[in-house]
Amino acid sequence: MRRSSTPALTMVAIVAAAFLVVPLAVLLVNVPVDQLPSVITRQASLEALKVSFVSATISALIAAVFSFPLAWKLSRTNSRFARLLRPLILSPIILPPTVAGIALLTLYGRNGVIGRFLQEVGVVSVPYTSSAVVIAGVFVSMPFVVLILLTALDQMPVDVEEAAAIDGASPSQIFWHIGLPYSAGSIVIGVALGWTRALGEFGATLTFAGSLPGVTRTVPMQVYLDLESTAQGAYVLSGITLVVALAVFYLIRIPWRSAPKNPRQRTSDSPQIP
């Protein structure tokens, strides 16, 4: 029999789990099931769901494409510049979302550095458009993806790369044929988490993109507005968001169970160089 915990430890674990799970369970129970069809088919709800899902997916894909090269370079470069860059890149995670929105505004807003230039060139202003929702989504989700990828890449055994290099592989080949397959599991998890993060983003999107139904009003904004008028709508949309988040987490566990990302699993020794 394996003894890895005491009764006290179990108690604390149960309390911690309950603290997180019980409010969500109560939320699901409180969703007015009889009103479910009418609220979902309400135009406001459908528009909010469309805006959220479409923009979150685009944000997650953009984040995925740009995060992996960034994480790859950061984990491989040992310069002081790279070490200083890491906390800066990861800072949107700890930044209050509204502050992130303000940061985006000062850059892309009408009085902003780039925004002013864009206005003169004749490009329509960025804030209050659906592109703004995507930009805000990328801004808050990319650091998440980078963080997850960094944790995986930092643990990647160096000797495999060295062996490949000795055998004549170019850096580009190492990237595509060794780095990517190794990190595939982490990329999937990172993108999934980044997607849910972009889906739940509220402060940055509200400040930067505004709240226009069908264009920039996301599900969190619709929930916030519903709280002001019809609480039932808020419960239904919240319930839907929760179920979707749970589904994402269960889905990403299925195909990547074999990926060597769990440090507690023992992997075989790397090949010795003769």
Binding site: L105, G109, R110, N111, S125, P127, Y128, G210, S211, L212, P213, T216, R217, M221, Y224, L225, D226, L227, E228, S229, T230, A231
Partner: protein, 305 residues
Amino acid sequence: MRNSSVNEDGTTGESALKFRKIAYASGFDLLKGARSNFKLISSSSRLSCSGEKANVNHRHATIIARAMRNVIALFIATSALVGCATDTPRQTITVLAASSMAEVLPEIAEAFEAENRNVTVQTSFAGSATLAAQVRTGIPADVLITASRESLEASGNRVANPRIFARNYMVLATNSSEINVISDLNKESVIWIRCDESVPCGRAALLALENERVTSTPSSLESDVATVMGRVRAGQVDAGVVYRTNVTLKDIKIRVLNFKTPAAVDLYISEIKDSTHLATAGRFVNFLISSTDMLTTSGFEAVRK
């Protein structure tokens, strides 16, 4: 807000303060003395066993003197603390108010506190629907001010005696030189916003816009008017439909345009039935209703029935 120790009859609370200081000092003395007293008693008991009588007598006298001092200190300490309890009790009343009162309510509260020195007024601002939800779910409060009839009814039965005390008219606030009449909102380059229909300021905005020939759509529908005003102030948009009270004297770069249809929102005020300071709450409500000067300067239309 301000914490002053001046009582209603004009006397200051300084004597109470002095008493409290003496009480603390006596208390500390007692504690310090206790340790040395203990050493004195234990050493004298040891010495008496070995028979040094002269020293023991001296020590006995010191112990008795110390004991008397401690008893007197104890007496002063307790009487000072008891004395404090007979001061005029400080009251704190909590006023829940709609966001449109955010500029004028602190001024009214300060004026009320100046006339009622033992009262502190605490204010809390939120959208009317949020306030209604708070009151319905039992938040401890004494006065409620909301900006819509629906939220008043949604507050439940804790609302004692609601009456309208002011009206807030919608205006167009703009920071742009391009906008000189309301129909300028139709211009291609103009970005304008208003509240969403599901909140009172949004419904009033729609009424105000009815007779204006505005065909362009707003770029954002906010959930509260403070956000609308914030965006106009920051220059993120060219114009926003807000309450007249949202434009303060400090907004020197903002111009106000009136609508052809005067659309307004009625403000209701009421005491909360289960308030623990019902009399003071009632006095505050009457004070506020009669502060017509402050209300009018802020942009409201004062209503006195």
